[in-house]
């Protein structure tokens, strides 16, 4: 029983740890957390759909070390990211920034959503209009009498 609890504890406490080598980890836990945070948003330029936090590539390793060195030297997170962007372009950011060249990327889904909403509204509005147009004019007195007669089945 005790062993079972032990095993469960070990299994449940194991989270994804990325590709970070224990030797890279900074002593200062705050700086290390910041380094991990930056690494998760930086694309590995060798294996392009991984972040450098996940990648085993040697260049990703060197980038992680570089990020840690820059943080230790007193750079802010933004300064570190800006340095990498100045070398590799916006492409290194896994989340592309919002600017003129990415307007279609960020605005596109919104635009399509609005178009869909507009189409939906116009569809319902037209349907309602068609229903009211198709409704027959109300019966006049004579017609109503005829109808009643027919329903009663008793001509009088």
């Amino acid at each position: 029983m005790r062993i079972l609890i032990l095993v469960l504890l070990v299994v449940l406490s194991a989270g994804p740890s990325g590709a970070v080598d224990p030797r890279e980890i900074l002593k200062d836990p705050i700086l290390e957390t910041r380094a991990r945070e930056i690494s998760k948003g930086v694309r590995c330029v060798v294996c392009q759909n991984q972040s450098i936090d996940d990648s085993d590539a040697t260049l990703a390793r060197d980038l992680r070390v570089l990020i840690r060195e820059r943080l230790t030297a007193g750079d802010s997170n933004q300064q570190v990211v800006d340095y990498l962007v100045s070398r590799y372009g916006d492409f290194v950011l896994l989340k592309p920034p919002f600017k003129l060249t990415t307007l279609a990327l960020w605005g596109g889904p919104l635009l399509i959503g609005f178009l869909g909403l507009a189409a939906l509204i116009s569809f319902y509005r037209r349907q309602r209009m068609r229903q009211s147009a198709a409704a027959p004019p109300p019966l006049n007195d004579k017609e109503r009498r005829q109808l009643n007669d027919l329903l009663d089945g008793d001509p009088s």
Partner: protein, 183 residues
């Protein structure tokens, strides 16, 4: 009228998607923009590799003449393909080629490679921790940068350079830079 619009809608959607794919699928995701184009070379100062008793290779060395900076490594297969052409360039052209020996696990590997195959480089710097490579925005070897006499990066080649690329692109650019520098 309205039905007709609905009727051609699938065709329109198809054409738009086909247009996106026609452009998108021909793009090479490995080709990153050259962020350094028109900018001065990054600051770097690399130690010499073993067996070369020069002073290594630093950014100041690039402010003398139009030159090429070639990032290579003894581990890199494409560099082996490129190497004979660099030797040919050394023999036939007066443009100095500088090398950055990138990420050698064994510090003897780069020098041994050059000794065995020939050394096309004027200056070579050792970059075991990718410092210069990252500063240049390198994603893989080989990459070659064309740098003008003021030390400004003018062009970047990803992958091996060969005769066709030299004749069609690099040589004309170099001639133009040299004329511009003379005036």
């Amino acid at each position: 009228m309205n039905n007709r619009v609905l009727f051609v809608m699938p065709l329109v959607v198809f054409l738009v998607l086909a247009g996106y794919f026609a452009v998108g699928l021909t793009l090479d995701p490995k080709k990153l923009p050259n962020m350094l184009a028109g900018k001065p070379v990054p600051d770097f100062a690399l130690k010499p590799i073993k067996g070369r008793d020069d002073k290594g290779f630093a950014s100041a060395d690039l402010k003398k003449s139009v030159s090429l900076v070639n990032i290579f490594g003894s581990w890199c297969v494409a560099c082996q393909v490129e190497h004979p052409f660099l030797m040919e360039l050394k023999a036939t052209s007066d443009v100095p080629i500088h090398g950055i020996d990138w990420r050698e696990v064994d510090p003897d590997a780069g020098p041994a490679w050059l000794k065995k195959k020939g050394d096309p480089y004027a200056l070579v710097g050792d970059d075991p921790r990718s410092r210069a490579a990252i500063a240049f925005g390198v994603t893989g070897a080989p990459e070659t940068f064309l740098v003008d006499a003021e030390g400004v990066v003018r062009y970047k080649v990803v992958g091996p350079i060969n005769k066709a690329l030299w004749d069609d692109t690099l040589k004309p650019l170099i001639d133009k830079l040299r004329q511009g520098g003379a005036s």
